[in-house]
Structure formats: structure tokens, C-alpha cells
């Protein structure tokens, strides 16, 4: 069952503040702060049900676009929970309020900081320290990309069952590395194989 809420303006402000406080901690993607969102929204306040929380993340990952949109879906669900039984336009309005509050909260602080910092760095791009930073970080960035691919793969940790999945990842890596095939074909193939239960 989804919770039925009656939210005041102060509650919306509290929701904004929570996402805003997580915004600057979200180094390496907002998904790293998901456990804290769960603690707050599901366990502490009860504004979202457990299944609303999980399906927000799952849906945002399945849909195109940045995964940060799971935050928009959480706001959407809070808005729906706050307007149960109301007219459809009222539900829509509150759900969209939830989307705006959650997205502005998670995006504003980090975006302002990034904008200011990168502008400063671009204006001083010939400084030795800045050039050293960029050169020094380059191999680490490349390693982190490969580590991300690796971690996503080994998060499926039962080789006897998951080996077709490993094979699919390996084949994708080789094909994309060596050819110019459009990625959507590969994603579609993955969805098909997965949906049929073959991987």
C-alpha cells in the first residue's frame, strides 16, 4: 500500500532541503546517496513505500537519459501520495510539484558549484597546476570507466547462473571498441535476450 499524506509547504521545503543537502555529497553520481534517501523518505518519514522507492530507481535505469531522473520519480510519487483521492488535475499538479522540488534540490547546489569552479578553471587553463591536474587525472579517469564496467558485471555474483551475462558484456565491449555499430541495437539485443530469460 502506498502511504496517504497531507503535506504542508513546510514539508515540501523539508523535502527540498534534504535533496539539497545530498547534492554536494553526490560525488560519483547521485545513486551513491540512494541509501540515505531510503533512510529518510521510506524509513523515517514514510512518504514513500518500499516498492515505490525501488521501482523509481529501476524505471529511471530502464528509461533513456541520465539515471539522476530516479530523483524526479521519487518526487513524483511523493506528490501522488500527497494527493490520493483528489481530482486528476490536482494529482497531476502535486506530482509535478514533487518533481520540481526534488530535482531542484538535488541539482541546484552541485550545478552552481560545478559552474563556478569550471569557469574559474577554464579562465586559468594555462596555469601549470591546472594542466597538471588534467594530465594527472587522465589515466585514473580511464581506469575508473573500466572499473565501472567491471563492477557492474561482477555485481551478478553467481558464475554458474550469470555466465551468459558476463559473455554478453564481454562481447559488447569488443564490438563497441572495434566497430561503429549503433549502441541502440546492442541495448535492444540485451533487452530482448534478458526479457526472454536467455541471459
Amino acid at each position: 500500500m502506498n502511504p496517504v499524506l497531507n503535506l504542508s509547504a513546510a514539508d515540501w521545503l523539508q523535502l527540498f532541503e534534504h535533496f539539497a543537502s545530498l547534492s554536494l555529497l553526490a560525488v560519483g553520481g547521485a545513486i551513491t546517496t540512494a541509501p540515505d534517501m531510503h533512510r529518510y523518505l521510506v524509513s523515517q518519514l514514510g512518504w514513500l513505500s518500499d516498492s515505490q522507492f525501488t521501482s523509481s530507481i529501476a524505471l529511471a535505469q530502464a528509461a533513456p537519459g541520465p539515471n539522476i531522473l530516479f530523483v524526479a520519480l521519487m518526487g513524483w510519487n511523493v506528490g501522488l501520495n500527497a494527493s490520493q483521492g483528489a481530482a486528476w488535475w490536482m494529482q497531476g499538479a502535486l506530482a509535478l510539484t514533487g518533481v520540481c522540488v526534488a530535482m531542484l534540490g538535488i541539482m541546484l547546489p552541485s550545478s552552481i558549484l560545478t559552474y563556478m569552479a569550471t569557469r574559474w578553471a577554464h579562465q586559468h587553463r594555462d596555469m601549470l597546476a591546472i594542466r597538471a591536474f588534467k594530465s594527472g587525472m587522465a589515466p585514473i579517469v580511464i581506469a575508473l570507466l573500466m572499473a565501472t564496467g567491471w563492477l557492474l558485471t561482477v555485481s551478478h555474483d553467481q558464475p554458474a547462473r550469470d555466465w551468459p551475462l558476463y559473455l554478453l558484456t564481454l562481447l559488447t565491449t569488443l564490438v563497441v571498441w572495434r566497430s561503429r555499430i549503433h549502441m541502440l541495437w546492442l541495448i535492444g539485443l540485451g533487452a530482448l535476450l534478458g526479457g526472454l530469460g536467455w541471459v
Binding site: 555529497l25 553526490a26 560525488v27 521501482s55 524505471l59 530502464a62 528509461a63 533513456p64 537519459g65 541520465p66 539515471n67 539522476i68 531522473l69 524526479a72 513524483w76 541539482m107 550545478s111 558549484l113 560545478t114 559552474y115 569550471t118 601549470l128 597538471a132 591536474f133 594530465s135 594527472g136 587525472m137 587522465a138 589515466p139 585514473i140 579517469v141 580511464i142 581506469a143 575508473l144 570507466l145 573500466m146 572499473a147 564496467g149 563492477l151 557492474l152 558485471t153 551478478h156 551475462l165 554478453l168 558484456t169 559488447t172 565491449t173 563497441v176 571498441w177 541502440l184 546492442l186 541495448i187 539485443l189 540485451g190 533487452a191 535476450l193 534478458g194 526479457g195 530469460g197 541471459v199
Partner: protein, 197 residues
């Protein structure tokens, strides 16, 4: 010695918005792999070297990486308005799609075939991201630290994050400061060599 400039650049704020929208709508399971292909290989707004540099910054700053990248590229060419156009481009269209999906299939994402499809797509997107890493290795040839040092740093970072599962912040701090210091020493040597031929 400055890095070669990219062959192309965004023509207008509309170009930024539309390009990032198209790119974001292709990004199933994360946008990173598409970003590299669209911005570096197709549009040529960035060279491989510039992409790595920008990606390093986008990753270190808080906030979603691809949104940070759109913000940086937009801001570089068209200031604050460009940054907003880039961010709006990468978020607006996918947000509409994801909300429509939520309206249509609120509960479907729990079903067995949807979970299976997600599993398959996840495996493909893991491969896409790893392939981007492989493609970018060639950009290290022009790195002032030299290839052997680059490989050692990359191997240490991969081992730390991928095998030992250390927190990302630790690895960035340890490997990052070692890399930046060594790059600083090498760049400073290049400068002195140029001044005293």
C-alpha cells in the same frame, strides 16, 4: 604547448539543447557511452584528450557526471545561458519520457520479463562503458607523464576501486594526488627546458 583544438563547436544555444536532447534520448542505462560517441566521434566538439580532461572534472565535481559535462560545455561557449541550455537538453526530454512511463507502467517494472530485460540491458551498458575506457587509452600517448607511469596509475586505480572495493573518494585522493604531483613535475621540466635551450 597547448593541446590541439577540437574541429567543431556548437553553433548556438539551440544547437546545444537539441544535440544534448538527442544524445540523452539514446542513453539507455546511462548516457556516458553515447556522450563519447556523439561529442567526440560524430560532432567532434571535443578531441579525445579534451573529453578525458572534461570527464575527469565532471566526475570529481558533485552532481551527475553527464549533467556536469553538459553544463561545462554549454558554459564554455555561451556562458550561463549555454550551461542552462545544455542541462535542459540533457534532462528535459528524458524527464518527459520517464514520467510518461511512470504513468503508463507504474507497476510493470516489477514483472519478471521487465526485470529480465533490465538485466540484459545492464550487461550491455557495462560493456559500453568498459569499451569507452579502452577507446580512450590512445589519448594517453600525448600525456606528459609518459605511458608507463600512466599505465601504473591506471592499474592502481582499477585495482583499488574494482578489486579491493575501496571508496571512490580514497582512490581519487591517493592516485589523483600522486598523478597530479608527477604531472606537475614533468610539466615544470618541459617549461624549464623550453626556456633554456
Amino acid at each position: 604547448m597547448s593541446a590541439p583544438e577540437a574541429p567543431n563547436q556548437p553553433q548556438s544555444k539551440t544547437d546545444l539543447f537539441v544535440s544534448f536532447s538527442i544524445l540523452a534520448l539514446q542513453g539507455f542505462g546511462g548516457v556516458l557511452a553515447v556522450v563519447q560517441r556523439e561529442l567526440v566521434e560524430k560532432k567532434k566538439w571535443l578531441t579525445r584528450e579534451q573529453f578525458i580532461e572534461d570527464w575527469a572534472v565532471a566526475q570529481i565535481m558533485p552532481g551527475p557526471n553527464v549533467v556536469n559535462l553538459a553544463l561545462m560545455i554549454g558554459g564554455r561557449y555561451f556562458g550561463l545561458a549555454g550551461a542552462l541550455a545544455g542541462v535542459a537538453g540533457i534532462l528535459a526530454a528524458p524527464m518527459v519520457v520517464v514520467l510518461l512511463l511512470a504513468l503508463a507502467f507504474g507497476g510493470v517494472s516489477d514483472s519478471a520479463w521487465a526485470q529480465g530485460a533490465l538485466r540484459g540491458m545492464g550487461a550491455v551498458s557495462a560493456g559500453l562503458i568498459a569499451a569507452v575506457g579502452l577507446k580512450l587509452i590512445s589519448a594517453l600517448k600525448s600525456n606528459p607523464m609518459g605511458m608507463p607511469v600512466c599505465i601504473a596509475l591506471a592499474a592502481a586505480s582499477f585495482g583499488g576501486v574494482g578489486l579491493l572495493r575501496l571508496p571512490l573518494a580514497w582512490v581519487l585522493l591517493a592516485a589523483g594526488s600522486a598523478g597530479c604531483l608527477w604531472a606537475y613535475v614533468q610539466l615544470a621540466r618541459q617549461v624549464t627546458r623550453k626556456e633554456q635551450p
